[in-house]
Symmetry: C2
Subunit: 338 residues, 2 copies
């Protein structure tokens, strides 16, 4: 799962954390990467457009060899090239941890994913269309293969291990460069053939234009990327990410304050729509913006409560697993096959 917000608590910082005792600096949450519990050893991969996170999880559920490697150029046959890269990484991880014998392999990818059919329907950054990724992996890697969508896998991991543990009907929003989402029904991702959960590309107004080609998408106003971009466009000053815009708003910058207010209003509108239509018990928010300060959760709770009438107010909770959630989901899915 991609997470490009500056300061993201991802594996780069996680490796430092692991070396320093395995606890997060902020929040005191137990290190997620060591938290999948006892079970079969499995290989797990979270494939993104920029890099691939991988690890082998041992029988205690500890992630060994946790690494982030650049996604290689995938050429004319991106599906086959990706599977070759997974094979190479698998061999590397197994060579480094010869006593851990994985019983299954899980991998997750972005884009439109039909997990039931094992097919990567479409991924703009990776290039495949209707690629039978699960079958290709099974043939090449000679292991039972679990295959899923990165954000749905991450959301399910939040349900199993993280911020959504207490609830079965949950929406997860990851707000970073873009806005990704997933809907859990009865504790399992609701997929709709891979098309569900595109909350970042649900319209909340008639504008502005979104990179996806539609207009008024939530992502075009309320993502960390949009907040920084809009500030740069209006002021000519390139901020150090959304966090900087929020800090400028707090310091009295009127343009920053308006852009941040617009983002909060757009998020509130989207949360109100989710509440009316889907009535989740909780909405879990992760990604860079959820750690950006500015009392995001307090602001959203107050604004959402003011928008609702008879509706059931959902709990608004921070994600706990953050950048590793996709990898943990992949490992847990592989466990189901082992």
């Amino acid at each position: 799962m991609e997470e490009e917000f500056p300061g993201s608590n991802d594996l780069r910082s996680r490796e430092t954390l692991l070396a320093s005792g395995g606890r997060r600096a902020a929040g005191g949450v137990e290190d997620a990467a060591r938290g999948i519990g006892a079970g079969a050893a499995v290989l797990a991969f979270d494939v993104g457009g920029t890099d691939i996170k991988s690890a082998v999880f041992d029988a205690d559920g500890t992630a060994l060899g946790l690494r982030r490697t650049p996604t290689p150029p995938l050429g004319d046959d991106p599906a086959a090239a990706l599977i070759e890269e997974l094979a190479r990484l698998s061999e590397e991880l197994r060579a480094q941890h010869p006593l851990v014998v994985p019983a299954a392999l899980g991998f997750v990818v972005p884009g439109i994913v039909d997990a039931d059919a094992g097919i990567g329907v479409f991924a703009s950054n990776l290039g495949w269309r209707d690629a039978p990724l699960r079958d290709l992996a099974a043939e090449r890697l000679k292991l039972p293969i679990a295959f899923d969508h990165d954000v749905r896998s991450a959301s399910w991991a939040e349900h199993r291990l993280g911020g959504a543990r207490a609830h079965d009907d949950v929406v997860v929003l990851i707000i970073g460069t873009g806005i990704a989402g997933a809907i859990l029904v009865g504790g399992e991702p609701y997929t709709a053939g891979g098309y569900a959960g595109e909350i970042g590309h649900s319209p909340i107004a008639d504008g502005p234009e979104c990179a996806c080609g539609a207009r008024g998408c939530l992502e075009a106003i309320a993502s960390a990327g949009a907040i920084a971009r809009r500030y740069a466009a209006e002021t000519g000053t390139v901020p150090d990410g959304a966090r900087d815009v929020i800090a400028r708003a707090a310091a009295g910058d009127a343009v920053a304050a308006r852009i941040w207010d617009d983002a909060l209003d757009a998020l509130t509108m989207s949360l109100a729509q989710l509440t009316a239509m889907f009535a989740p018990q909780a909405i879990v928010i992760g990604g860079g913006l959820s750690r950006a300060g500015g009392a995001l959760f307090d602001e959203l709770r107050a604004r959402l409560a003011a928008r609702l009438s008879f509706h059931r107010m959902p709990e608004l909770l921070p994600a706990e697993l953050e950048g590793d959630a996709g990898l943990l989901g992949a490992a847990l899915r592989a466990r189901e096959l082992a």
Copy 2:
């Protein structure tokens, strides 16, 4: 299920249809009230704020004694009073059809309904709060009792017998005086403790005020009731329902055209949100507005396609069961217990 749009193809006209051979004048759809198929005999009730529809379904699935009777004043103990009325109607139906021995009874009610728990959580027109309606009915009526929400039951009947037969992930919208909705996941209503599916009370803008207390609800702009009300407010002329406003728009009335256009835009926005978040295979639209002419489905298809980008376009389909869907759902739910 309430359906107050003028010209609704409801039981009042249905009784005429039954007398005249059991086929609908429009559409050639086989009469829904005779269509639940072979199985146990059951009693079924669709309770609304204004009236109660009831029938006994025989082993062929034919509705006998189909009637619509006024909902009596329910007094200080509305739950007990309703169950007494259901008992009275049950005795009447059984006395009139002594050879049909019902094996179970199904009833559906409006409001917030926790069907799993058998509880009517809240119903503004009927007055109960957290009423254990299923248990009360079982005790008084001495039959296995199926209990559900009217619109979710109707939507499920559309899946079993009507316009949503071909799909398992479906949204049903009933657009009449208000806008009611339901979400089917894997062919079953998604409930969220009774709070899901309030698509009519999902915001699509920052205004106008809605009767529910929130603002910008879809229902406040796009329901048949809102269309007629807005036209009356702007022109001082009370139209003969939304159908009349649409006819005036077609005849060149600029105010009517703008109000109808606003309604179509609001509906399109809501359909786009449902498509992005939930990606149903089909969205089934029923209620008075769906029969109001003005090429509703063609307009919505074109506008929705123009709003989407990579999203999966849902089929937009007319509901087939219309005003009897709630009763048929109640009968089918009772069959599950018989």
